[in-house]
């Protein structure tokens, strides 16, 4: 299996003779430059490009093409070469796209001679650039590694070559452009596509026979991890993960192909099994962010996190069942010793007891060893995954929030906190829920929960609950595109004013929260009407008949101080919103203590059940969908004294001013 690199990530190369496969949506020019140990081009001739395609140990294509295969023999490179930069550029003057922003992101893979992929990289995020340094192969001590670079140049080939330290960059760029343009004309004229012949020649060059599977591996930009349908049934109980039928089905095919190895190290990852350890190494597993199936990096990370969640759950299940078994066996054995009057006393009994205890200790120790091994692997994976997460999936302390800018698209999920198990020694799994939310949230500021809530006094707990609500509301406001999310807040008695301050001060919440009974009923009335209207329109198939001033954005209603300021009618409306709202984009975020609303009796039970309960302090009340462990939930609070929340909200407001259409 190939490692899919993220920008800046590196990966060791297995050998000196490699092939670099480029696939792009349309014709691109591929080239390579060589650098010495100081990162400079020592000689002007240290570049391979269409007008001069061959260097010792390196060959590129003479023309622009959607698919390229560059043959590389690292051992044959000129002495003193420490780095090979792989360059891509859009051909100029042939009527194609002018920048990479206009085409699908080019895909680059490093493969062995047999076509097995070693590492791949999709140069995403390019906009006005028309040239890009996609990869670099570099010498680290005595071995070579590959790194995903993805450095684009808006100034095109000339700017890139100049940046590589080439003296006559401008002229060279022109030479290359001319050669490419000539090549384009040639290739149009030749009836059979030249690529086949080209490939055959290249194979001869590197002296490797390409397997049929290898030849198919680099066809088209969509080949990276799109092989399996994504198991992204995303609510908090993903059915797809529970049904190996979909994922394990490639197995029989694998063996039919004759000794195809299938790796079971990670259940649910049949579509992206980890690579067979290269012979001679101890098979150390190196985790990589995005090591799962999916159509986009976000989806791959999302799936990877669910895979980690499942692995964690199952490893702990294995450990717990082994420990349970060890204990029950020891009890049985001790009972047997005690139950028999002849063996109850004396030397034999002592020996039997000691033996039973030893057997127990041995089994538990072995189980712990296995668990520790699994946890270490998951921890290593978590260490690479967390820094790679996009804002919607990231903790507030992740640096990605400092580079935050208002997104163009709604992310597939949002992080609502962290999940952990007592056996996990610090391992925390992001708790991701799909967007748009499928059910409302209830931040329970009551004391009846277990865990840490008992140690915090009631006022502090309420305050923390309000802070949690603000952190979640701000996060949702930040991860939705401008105009796609509207925040409504009810704070009848103004008790949450302190927690709401960041939202109000930045202007993320443009109006004061609804106060008093009047404010409560007005807000609920408005949202209830919206739900009614949209439901009617959807049912009768007349969505175009909705009033033009209707706010079509997702609505989040944050309710503080429940049931203060609520009359019976308001309570009914709230229940209505909890039941009917999610399907038409209206969700509740309740901050409430169930005890406060005790006087309403069982009439409110459906309300609490309709909401996903989370807690302002760590509490073990969430179950996983596979084995039903009780996971400790931790809310997504902003680190103390961190200004990240305010900064992000300022960005949100700024983006609203700039792009918001109202």
């Amino acid at each position: 299996m190939a490692v899919e690199l993220v920008r800046g990530q590196n990966h060791p190369l297995p050998g000196a003779r490699l092939e670099i496969r480029v696939s792009a949506a349309g014709p691109v020019v591929a080239g390579a430059t060589l650098n010495d140990e100081n990162g400079r081009m020592r000689e002007p001739a240290w570049i391979a490009h269409p007008a001069q395609p061959t260097l010792p140990g390196l060959e590129v294509s003479r023309q622009a093409a959607a698919d390229h295969r560059l043959a590389v023999d690292l051992d044959a490179l000129p002495a003193g070469v420490h780095r090979v930069n792989v360059l891509l550029a859009l051909p100029v003057g042939v009527g194609g796209p002018l920048n990479f922003g206009a085409v699908a992101a080019p895909f680059v893979a490093v493969t062995g001679l047999d076509g097995t992929e070693v590492a791949s990289y999709r140069a995403t995020g390019l906009g006005a650039e028309s040239a890009v340094v996609a990869l670099e192969l570099y010498r680290r001590h005595d071995s070579w590694k590959v790194r995903a670079v993805g450095q684009g140049y808006a100034g095109g080939l000339a700017a890139m070559l100049a940046d590589q330290g080439l003296p006559a960059a401008e002229e060279l760029a022109t030479t290359i452009t001319d050669a490419v343009a000539a090549g384009m004309v040639r290739s149009v004229a030749a009836p059979p596509p030249r690529t086949e012949e080209d490939r055959a020649r290249r194979e001869a060059t590197v002296g490797g026979a390409q397997g049929a599977a290898g030849a198919g591996a680099a066809t088209g930009p969509g080949n990276s991890g799109t092989d399996a349908s994504a198991s992204a049934s995303g609510d908090f109980a993903p059915q797809a993960h529970g049904q190996p039928g979909a994922q394990a089905s490639p197995a029989p095919g694998g063996s039919a192909a004759g000794g195809g190895r299938i790796d079971y190290q990670h259940p649910g990852r049949a579509s992206a099994p980890s690579p067979a350890p290269p012979p001679g190494e101890d098979g150390a597993y190196e985790p990589v962010a995005g090591d799962a199936s999916g159509w986009s990096m976000d989806e791959r990370l999302y799936n990877q996190i669910w895979d980690m969640f499942e692995d964690f759950a199952r490893s702990v299940a294995a450990y717990r069942s082994a420990v349970d078994f060890a204990e029950s066996r020891m009890e049985q054995e001790l009972e047997k010793v005690l139950g028999d009057p002849r063996t109850r006393l004396g030397q034999a009994a002592d020996t039997a007891r000691t033996e039973a205890r030893e057997k127990h200790a041995q089994l538990v120790e072995r189980a712990r060893g296995v668990l520790d091994r699994d946890l270490a692997q998951l921890k290593a994976e978590s260490d690479v995954v967390e820094p790679a997460l996009p804002p919607a999936f990231a903790r507030w302390d992740n640096p990605v929030w400092h580079g935050y800018s208002s997104p163009m698209e709604t992310p597939m999920a949002v992080r609502l906190g962290d999940l952990s198990l007592p056996e996990g020694v610090g391992l925390r799994i992001p708790m991701l829920v799909r967007l748009p939310l499928e059910r409302g949230l209830w931040i329970d500021c009551g004391h009846q929960g277990s865990g840490a809530s008992a140690l915090v006094d009631a006022d502090e707990l309420r305050h923390m609950a309000a802070e949690t609500a603000t952190a979640i509301a701000a996060r949702l406001a930040a991860v939705y595109p401008v105009d796609d999310f509207t925040l409504n807040v009810i704070d009848p008695a103004g008790s949450a004013a302190e927690a709401l301050a960041p939202l109000l001060e930045t202007g993320a919440l443009p109006e004061q929260p609804a106060a008093g009974a009047a404010g409560v009923s007005a807000t609920l009335e408005r949202l209830t009407q919206r739900v009614d209207l949209v439901q009617m329109a959807v049912r009768s198939g007349a969505t175009d008949a909705l009033p033009p001033d209707l706010d079509t954005a997702e609505q989040l209603l944050v309710v503080h101080d429940f049931p203060h300021g609520f009359d019976d009618r308001a309570v009914n409306q709230l229940r209505y919103l909890a039941d009917e709202g999610p399907s038409v984009g209206v969700n509740l975020l309740m901050v409430a203590d169930r005890e406060d609303a005790r006087s309403y009796g069982p009439v409110l039970s459906p309300l609490w059940r309709a909401l996903l309960r989370i807690t302002p302090v760590p509490d073990d009340h969430l179950a996983d969908p596979w084995v039903g462990h009780h996971w400790t939930y931790e809310p997504p609070l902003v680190p103390r004294r961190s200004r990240v929340l305010t900064q992000v909200l300022q960005q949100v407001v700024q983006a609203r001013r700039t792009y918001g259409g109202g």
Binding site: G242, Q243, P244, G245, A248, S249, A251, P252, G254, S255, A256, G258, G259, G260, R261, I262, Y264, Q265, P267, E310, D311, R314, S315, A317, A318, Y319, S321, A322, F325, A326, R329, L363, R366, A367, V370, W626, V627
Partner: protein, 192 residues
Amino acid sequence: MSVNLSKGQAISLQKSDGGTLSAVRMGLGWKAAPRRGLFGKRSKEIDLDASAVLFADKQPVDVVFFRHLVSDDGSVKHTGDNLVGGAGQGGDDEAIMVDLQRVPVHIDQIVFTVNSFTGQTFEEVENAFCRLVDETNGQELARYTLTGGGQYTAQIMAKVHRQGDGWQMTAVGAPTNGRTFQDLMPAMVPHL
């Protein structure tokens, strides 16, 4: 090298290179009942089921079958229930995959069984077979031809068990009768 076994034959197997097994797959295949006439649905479907029972010290601890497709620890996985069979060309219509490295430490035996859920005996099912494959190299370790296996509706097929630090497989091949794995539990006990 595949060992073609007849019923009741029990042998111990090690990998040919002397190592122990790390991942095995039990495959089960049979030919679907032929479609008859216009009313295609009326042909008598044949539903064979593969199951794996996990034992610790001869106590059943977990079962992987069509109602419970993944063992709690994730080490044993069923590809899903096939209710009608396949082409009968030798491909697996149901499979159970075991990652022996992930099996919890207290599990010391895993027994694989086949049963006919719809009640046909193995004599009536065409091209029915079950096999065990070493997943690390795709090599078939054992194969039973179930067709023509007599008036039985179930078979205790094989077991893998801990041996030292690794695992070994013993083919059992004991024919018996039953609709689901529960019916087979008494028949399994002598082979533990």
